[in-house]
Symmetry: C2
Subunit: 284 residues, 2 copies
Amino acid sequence: MKNYLDCIPCFMSQALRAGKTAGLEDKQIKKLLDEVGMMISDIPMESSPPETGAVIYQKIREITGIDDPFLSIKQKNTREALEMYPELRQLVRRSDDPLLTAIRLAIAGNVIDFGVNKAFNLQKDIEQILSQDFAIFDYDSFRESLRKTEKVYYLGDNAGESVFDRILIEELHKPVVFVVREIPVINDVTRADAIMAGLDKVAEIVSSGSTAPGNVPALCDPSFMETLYQADMIISKGQGNYEGLSDEPIPVFFLLKVKCHVIARDLGVTENSIVLKKSDFKHL
Amino acid sequence: MKNYLDCIPCFMSQALRAGKTAGLEDKQIKKLLDEVGMMISDIPMESSPPETGAVIYQKIREITGIDDPFLSIKQKNTREALEMYPELRQLVRRSDDPLLTAIRLAIAGNVIDFGVNKAFNLQKDIEQILSQDFAIFDYDSFRESLRKTEKVYYLGDNAGESVFDRILIEELHKPVVFVVREIPVINDVTRADAIMAGLDKVAEIVSSGSTAPGNVPALCDPSFMETLYQADMIISKGQGNYEGLSDEPIPVFFLLKVKCHVIARDLGVTENSIVLKKSDFKHL
């Protein structure tokens, strides 16, 4: 997905929120906003939002001098999600359609997102998403692809969320490669975060090479992108990965909660929808 | 009120909204956002939000080459408000407390504000505000000041809104000076807009000299500010005037609907509150 004009004020809001969450002082936040403001004229409208995000979060790292300013928040989220894990696992096993319930939980975990909104109520969101209708629901194709594929590439999103991804991965019953960011960017999942969430017990963990809050082809390792082009089935979590990959010719299912009006418009759904969307490109 | 960090992303959102409302093409809007972005590092945090607004709307005039890009929208709003005028006038006359009902209507008119939100439903907002509790309600002081004063300075806000101000002015039963912006800025009321709304029938119309979307002392004529410092009673409409004048030693009653979380925090009320607030400075 390319940048929309509406993304530009949002970059500024993201920088403000990220600066506050990272604990910057007001003067440092103003400096961050100054620098993001000066960057705006360099943002090509043909690039995707996570590419700009990559530069913003790089600035935050420079200003704070900290490589992973969201580390303690990510660890707290992951711990809290891990506490819920046994109960959610039972919920899936006892449900009529464990795969679908696991998909819903994976989307519920997607509310743990500081790039979009700091305030969320996980328990309430889980309850809501367990009964919410999908705005796009390519579930039959998903099951069909899953049945045929030998391997699933699963593109992670946020750190705490990956505990919920683990629950879905356990229901796929196929070998899974869980894809993480190369470096810490906001609260996105890195290799260390994924291991803390127990992903190493259920999947092979691989970095996409991306330094952006999303797997953007231009910012991923070329060899990783080649892997995606050759893949038979990819599951992409969250908005950042959708923004980066929605125009790529890969067999991907986008799994997300729509948290912004720009992505809602791009997908042709309303804000707060939940989506399981098959890309238009070749699927098994 | 000084700038808060939260105002900075909002400047960018305002520029985007203003550019769209003024009918700019996407490329022009991007240019506007580029320029506003580059301005951010020059924004002193000690200045008030309308001072930055003044520069943003100056950029819009430069880019469009049009002095009053919101003219047709202002005229439409004023025409629609004038159509409601006879009925609202009756509503005031038939009410138990005509002055208070007129105050409520003046606040209801304050929803006609493109600087904050393009979408509003005037009829619905009127009904709501007629029965809504005030979060700050210095009505007794207001009546007392009104009883004693010889003249009221009434600081207008938006163009269509001024029809509602006219209804309140008619209930004051005192000589009124209605204060307008010097030049068109967003949909703020100018002399021409005020005359279209019929304000010349009920008040003397005076320009503050302000080129900002609010009466900011630094951007008003010094002689006008001197008038305010000598005044016995001032009624200030809307957020922009509150932002510009909340720290000034003048006997003012702020009348507004709180449409942003920053002003809500500054006033110590919740968003969407309605407020009739007496300033701390000397009153009659």
